[in-house]
């Protein structure tokens, strides 16, 4: 089967020639230069060809021009890029490498990959600031990729392991084309992207979607604090801002007076944006925030073209969306195919009519989607989905822990966060539990609120009472509690 994406990228990079394609703090590349750099890097990757197989190349890095070069190089080399969240822990990465049968890693020189891989290209070559390492083979044999699969991305999963979603080239192409068409992206747009390109928000709105019409993509890595964002917006004269709600909250906290003169559109997704933040941001900057609703497995689904109100907008082109008592179900041209490392799990969520069950609940009013809750147990912290069962299981393995329950609770700022109530023996401290979690979990999965108790409060049938657990969090920690011992 002939791959879709290499030809498509070659076409758009050639067509837009000398226009600015992508920039970061270290530099920029025009479309023709990007094609040239990616071709040179693909020649290097091709030297690591796997006989009879397409090379599986994980990109484990933060946003940069070199990240985009590496992504394109992998496609041009006939490989499959696996976009791994750089916030995933080395432990997560090693499980992904084994589950998915990775061949190569493209990573920052300081990344902790040495337990599973050996460096074959140091930073400073065709991959710019990034290095390339070869993954040591795992046993048993790796899972088979579908012939149509051209890109793999990850979701938090509900089994304690990130699920690897296989996407066909046609799905990736449709996601970008439908987003560009549905949101009016044009060659005049300059997109400032503060979400990681491994995440659906950035991948679907800012990578191929930016290049199709000849727009420019301006990348940032690290924490997107308001002051930093304003500096990038001013230096790039960005017309679009793509970010998670946390960035908009930061801007409201700092209340910058300038920086938004060229911005016409701000896009938020990943987690609910508080209405007060939306209103204050627009009052401060004059820029409306447009909601976008997407699901990792199904791509971008809706866009709020009006940029006002709490609705998530109308379905994008190529999307059919149903909101019933069973929750929100979708069919889209940008659907993933399956989970490479969790056979049958994806398929169980697709019904006989081909609709994917998102796990979200909501309704359509005048064609606009409104979310009301979730049917799944996942906790959404700042746009990252976390399975509380996985966290409780990890806590239970810590020395001195008798039992643990993890759940969503509001922190002192009113934001949803991951909380855990842990029954412990004397001498166990919150710090020791955090250290235990951090040894295997990525930092965003370590509970933000930890309360240590002698016994988990239970309801009349002996199950943990979430209501009583939440109430417990609002009470001051007693000096006789285990934490203080």
């Amino acid at each position: 089967m002939r791959a879709v994406l290499p030809d498509l990228f070659t076409d758009v990079l050639t067509r837009h020639g000398e226009r600015l394609a992508v920039s970061d703090a270290a530099g920029s590349l025009g479309y023709a230069e990007l094609l040239q750099r990616a071709r040179a890097a693909s020649d290097t990757l091709a030297r690591h060809e796997v006989p009879g197989e397409r090379p599986r190349v994980a990109l484990y890095a933060t946003n940069s021009v070199d990240y985009v070069v590496s992504y394109l190089a992998t496609l041009f080399a006939g490989g499959v890029p696996f976009l791994v969240d750089s916030a995933f822990s080395p432990f997560d990465l090693s499980r992904i490498a084994e589950d998915c049968g990775l061949d190569l890693l493209v990573h920052a020189p300081g990344a902790e990959v040495h337990a599973i891989a050996d460096e074959v290209h140091a930073a400073g070559g065709e991959f710019g600031v990034l290095a390339v390492s070869r993954v040591r083979p795992f046993d048993p044999p790796r899972p088979h990729l579908l012939d149509a699969t051209e890109v793999c991305r990850f979701t938090s999963g509900s089994t304690g392991r990130p699920n690897c979603i296989e996407f066909s080239g046609a799905a990736v192409s449709a996601a970008a084309a439908n987003w560009a068409k549905g949101t009016g992206l044009s060659a005049d747009d300059r997109i400032a992207c503060f979400a990681a390109l491994s995440n659906g928000l950035a991948f679907n709105t800012s990578l191929l979607a930016a290049f199709l019409p000849g727009a420019s993509l301006h990348l940032s890595s690290g924490l997107p604090t308001a002051t930093r964002v304003v500096r990038l917006l001013e230096s790039t004269e960005a017309t679009r801002l793509v970010a998670f709600p946390a960035l908009y909250e930061s801007i409201v906290r700092r209340a910058p007076k300038e920086g938004f003169a060229a911005v016409r559109t701000a896009i938020s997704s990943g987690a609910p944006l508080r209405e007060t933040v939306r209103e204050e941001f627009t009052r401060l900057t004059g820029v409306p925030i447009h909601n976008y609703y997407g699901v990792a497995e199904a791509g971008p689904l809706t866009y709020a073209a009006e940029g006002a109100g709490s609705g998530l907008g109308a379905p994008l082109p190529g999307v059919r969306l149903l909101a019933t008592e069973q929750g929100i179900r979708v069919r889209s041209e940008s659907m993933g195919s399956r989970y490479l490392n969790a056979p049958g799990v994806f398929e169980e969520r697709v019904d006989a009519e081909g609709y994917y069950h998102t796990g979200d609940q909501g309704h359509l009013r005048d064609g606009v989607l409104h979310l009301t809750g979730r049917t799944s147990r996942l906790v959404n912290v700042g746009g990252r989905k976390i399975d509380p069962i996985e966290i409780a299981d990890v806590l239970r393995t810590a020395p001195g822990v008798l039992d643990a329950v993890a759940f969503e609770a509001d922190n002192q700022h009113g934001d949803p966060t991951l909380a855990a109530v842990v029954a412990v023996e004397a001498g166990v401290s919150a710090q020791s539990l955090r250290t235990h979690c951090a040894a295997t979990l990525p930092s965003f999965k370590v509970p933000g609120i930890l309360r240590l108790v002698d016994r988990i409060p239970a309801n009349s049938i002996g199950k943990p009472s979430i209501e009583r657990l939440r109430r417990l969090l609002s009470e001051p920690q007693s000096t006789s509690d285990p934490q203080s011992n």
Partner: protein, 87 residues
Amino acid sequence: MDSSALRTKILDLAIAAGDGSVTADELAGANYSLRDVGYSSLSYMRLIDSIENEVGVYLDPEAPTEHYETIDSVTALVVASGIGADA
């Protein structure tokens, strides 16, 4: 503001910017390491914003991570970013 007062202010801001379960005692027990008390990226964003608001200095979030490890290293970063000990 002398360096001791600046450090105390940053400690107060760090507790306020956390998710809610970090106390001064816990921070002291962790040698004032923000990472050891589970400071999240969202907490760091709140802390940087509040320092910029209250102290009037720009903190580069892409500064080497060791600058954000502890209350003392953050204090040193603030001083190095333009707020002297007697500012």
